[in-house]
């Protein structure tokens, strides 16, 4: 197991290095970190900033300087904010983590329930309804869904009930004056719901498919022939088998979500990893973007490893070598 983990991590190093250089190069080519200074009246400001940021050197040299500092623990300084990069990334990571934990938990529970129901009641009215809804869920883009949810669950109830405040908030994760757990929950519901709809839609389809595979497998048929009750067959035999691939997909998706919530975080004014990426990209802030990518890469690798481990734990037939 340990050898397997070490080998997986080792394989990741060149991938991460190549990816980080390509990103560094692409951002340097495509975005101008001095763009915001170009409109100023002080012509010397451009030259001063270019020298300070090392932009007068070649891209490989800039990358090498950055990399040698990074491996010694110096994440560098943002060209956009002049602040330390870790001071931007770590809080954003924590914020996004909150969304993902709640979103994945809620989505996993619902997706499992819907997927199992659809598999057990294949082609029933309920199954067909969930199938239709899941296609709808997959098709709804977050920027549209988020605004629709705001209207339906916050604006309209406030208007109809004549409330002073909307029942659910949608700016940030806390009220300006802080607030307790209830305030936090009222801020969390809409972004988590926006995130959850797409996840439930795809994960429930996946669960349905794996459950159908399991329910038609020989060991389930044997169990049925032996007179094992249906509920027990579903929960103890089929679901346990289906859980392996489900956890695997969930873990991989969760890892990818760390960098994939740009739209949701933008709509709900949440300063997470997605919004940090967008702000940094638009400012051509390669000193944030590359560490950001590395952090996301590490998160994805870790979640992939967790998926493999979970698979091995849930399915005794699997051995990691």
């Amino acid at each position: 197991m340990l050898a397997y983990l070490a080998r997986r991590l080792l394989y990741s190093v060149p991938v991460v290095l190549i990816a980080s250089f390509l990103l560094f190069w692409a951002v340097r080519i495509a975005f101008d970190p001095l763009a915001r200074l170009r409109g100023g009246r002080d012509a010397g400001a451009l030259a001063r900033a270019a020298e300070r940021l090392g932009l007068d050197q070649s891209i490989p040299v800039q990358y090498w300087h950055w990399l040698t500092r990074f491996v010694t623990g110096d994440w560098g300084v943002s060209s956009r904010t002049a602040g330390p990069v870790h001071g931007l990334i770590l809080p954003a990571l924590g914020t996004t983590l909150q969304l993902i934990v709640w979103g994945v938990l809620v989505a996993a529970v619902i997706a499992l329930a819907v997927g199992v129901y659809s598999a057990v009641r294949q082609y029933s009215a309920g199954d067909l309804a969930f199938t239709g809804l899941s296609y709808l869920g997959v098709a709804m883009p977050p920027f549209w869904l988020g605004l629709i949810l705001i209207q339906i669950l916050a604006a309209w109830p406030q208007e109809l009930l004549g409330l002073t405040d909307p029942p659910l908030y949608f700016v940030g994760l806390h009220s300006p004056d802080g607030g307790g757990p209830l305030d936090y929950a009222r801020h969390l519901v809409l972004p988590v719901l926006t995130l959850t709809v797409g996840l439930v839609a795809s994960w429930s389809r996946f669960t349905r498919a794996t459950m159908l595979d399991a329910l038609t497998s020989e060991y389930v048929r044997t169990a049925r022939a032996k007179g094992v009750p249906k509920r027990r067959i579903v929960t103890r035999h089929a679901l346990r088998t289906a859980l392996g691939p489900f956890v695997s997909v969930t873990a991989v998706d969760a890892g990818l979500l760390f960098g994939g919530l740009v739209v949701t975080e933008q709509i709900f004014a949440i300063q997470g990893m997605g919004r940090l990426f967008l702000d940094s990209l638009l400012a051509g802030d390669v000193f944030v973007l590359v560490p950001w990518t590395l952090v996301i890469a590490v998160v994805v690798i870790v979640f992939n490893l967790l998926a493999d481990l979970a698979y091995a734990v849930l399915d005794p037939r699997v051995r990691l070598r």
Partner: protein, 561 residues
């Protein structure tokens, strides 16, 4: 007097408009203003409000290159940093008056060398009770003139020396006549506290927010990505704020910000007047008030590349200018807000007193188009497009991708110009490519972008002198993207930049405006209006100052009593 090009969604956002009820605390010179307050609802002491901010500042070290966000200036710089001069609207035009930091109007001696003497109000103190002194003037001037990471040294690079004969007097000596001296300690940066910053790492102490203040407000907190909170500065020597707390919540998504405003999560908004914002306002906002003012510091113009065919010929530029119905464009863009008149000067309304109305000569007139084009050797082809020596009157118009307002403008221009015999191709690109590459390298024919003034001092020389043409020699850093190079213009602009006689400066600036208009070097289109929205919870004299933004008089805002 900084003039900057607008970078759309990425960056320099809308400035503001109009007028201010005018109070001047302390012993500073107070000018009576004719500016009108947007609302006079009486307010009570105390309470808090939340304002939506569509852009978050990158840092709060206001003299550093990271401080380019105009929202930073609006929400934390202006409320906390003392300045020597502030914009005032007097007799319908914007001018400058000394603030309550000064004991009297600074005295300027023409010299040579030119000297300015600043006398400081004895009552002026920082939030820790330390007096504002001449040492603060010296520290600020030298930090900007000699510092490494400095955003804008304009004016400060002309400072030969700064003397501090006593704690309440500072004397600045210039190395050359500098007409815009009022921009020092006032325009892009105010005064910094020497006793807290001298000999220390200013950037480290300021960039993430600071607790000291020389204005009516203090920064209580700045949570990155979430909000900035202002509370009253108890030691402020002028009129103290009515509110106990003001929170600026960062809300980048326009649609979500409007929803938050409608549901009361945000009490006020200052949206960029893009089409989606205007649609939101048109659709109605209950229990809310709005202020729309077309007198901002943002001038949207049609920019011709004066050095590139076909716009290198004056008759061609004039013909195109007569083919465009600017009033129709403005009405389509801002008619719903009641704004329908095109701009008639290369100066924004913020510096309107220095400009004329010479561009009013360009009204839609197809007969004039015919006469100008035929006079220049053009003839209409069978396809209805002008042609000369085998070249069709076909050209491109460029702006930044994703700016819906400008994209709509381009489509209207395309139709209007097609009717006059010009073929226009839309050739848009990203903001970065446009402003960092295409425009500096002259790789465009006609463009749409905005000229921004942030201080009521004329600055045409920055945008139209031949020395400001971007080139390899100056690292493509000049602002004269349209390569204007008119006979006599440099001399006029130079005189305007160095004349200390205000009346003469106005006269010279108007000459420059006329030269630009008579050669159709550009075609001003509209002044982008400023919009301020607030719910009925808020009272006080709300108004937008085109230089200092909508929150310049936040101290007078309050909860409606």
């Amino acid at each position: 007097m900084s003039t900057r090009f607008r970078l759309g969604a990425v960056g320099l956002t809308a400035l503001a408009l109009l007028a201010a009820s005018c109070t001047s605390g302390g012993t500073g010179t107070a000018l009576k203003s004719d500016a009108r307050p947007a609302t006079g609802a009486p307010v009570r002491q105390g309470g808090s409000i939340v304002i939506g901010a569509e852009q978050e500042p990158d840092c709060t070290d206001w003299i550093a290159s990271c401080a380019t966000s105009i929202w930073g200036t609006f929400i934390m710089d202006i409320p906390t940093i003392p300045r020597v001069f502030e914009p005032r609207k007097v007799d319908g035009t914007w001018g400058l008056a000394a603030t309550n930091v000064m004991a009297s109007e600074p005295e300027v001696a023409a010299g040579p060398p030119q000297k300015v003497t600043y006398r400081i109000n004895p009552a002026a103190v920082w939030s820790d009770g330390e007096p504002i002194t001449s040492a603060d003037f010296a520290y600020t001037a030298l930090a900007i003139r000699d510092g490494k990471d400095v955003l804008n040294r304009t004016g400060y690079s002309h400072i030969a020396k700064i003397e501090t004969p006593d704690p309440k007097t500072a004397v600045v000596t210039f190395d050359a006549p500098y007409a815009s001296w009022k921009g020092l300690f006032s325009d892009s940066s105010g005064l910094l506290p020497s006793h807290l910053l001298k000999g220390k790492d200013r950037s480290a102490l300021m960039k993430d927010g600071y607790t000291w203040s020389g204005g009516p407000w203090k920064i209580e907190s700045w949570t990155k990505g979430v909000s900035a909170v202002l509370v009253p500065n108890p030691n402020y020597w002028g009129d103290k704020p009515k509110l106990d707390k003001v929170t600026f919540q960062f809300t980048a998504d326009t649609a979500a910000a409007f929803q938050a405003f409608k549901t009361g999560q945000l009490d006020a908004l200052y949206p960029t007047p893009q089409l989606d914002s205007i649609d939101q306002i048109k659709s109605g906002l209950s229990n809310a008030s709005s202020l729309v003012d077309p007198e901002s510091g943002n001038l949207e113009a049609i920019w011709f590349n004066n050095a590139k065919a076909p716009f290198d010929a004056v008759p061609f530029r004039k013909a195109v200018s007569h083919a465009i119905d600017r009033k129709a464009v403005v009405t389509r863009l801002y008619g719903a807000l009641g704004v329908t008149e095109p701009a008639q000067s290369a100066h924004t309304p913020l510096v309107g007193r220095y400009g004329g109305t010479d561009f009013a000569q360009y009204t839609p007139d197809l007969a004039k188009v015919d006469s100008l084009m035929r006079g220049d050797g053009w003839a209409k082809g069978s396809d209805g497009i002008w042609a000369k020596a085998g070249n069709r009157a076909a050209f491109s118009v460029s702006t930044m991708t994703g700016n819906k307002r400008r994209e709509l403008t381009e489509q209207i221009l395309q139709e209007q110009l097609r009717a006059a015999g010009f073929e226009v191709k839309i050739d848009n690109t990203s903001a970065t490519d446009l402003f960092a590459s295409k425009l500096p390298k002259g790789d465009f024919q006609m463009g749409l972008w905005t000229l921004v003034d942030t201080f009521p001092q004329p600055s045409l020389e920055a945008s139209f002198s031949s020395g400001a043409v971007p080139s390899e020699g100056n690292g493509y850093s000049g602002l004269n993207m349209s390569r204007v190079n008119l006979p006599g213009l440099d001399r006029v602009l130079g005189a305007a930049a160095s004349s200390l006689d205000e009346a003469k400066r106005v006269e010279i600036s108007r000459q420059a405006d006329k030269l630009l208009a008579d050669s159709a070097a550009l075609l001003p289109l509209d002044v982008i209006p400023n919009i301020l929205l607030w719910n009925n919870k808020i009272g006080g004299p709300l108004a937008v100052d085109p230089a200092r933004g909508p929150f310049w008089n936040l101290a007078q805002w309050g909860l409606a009593s």
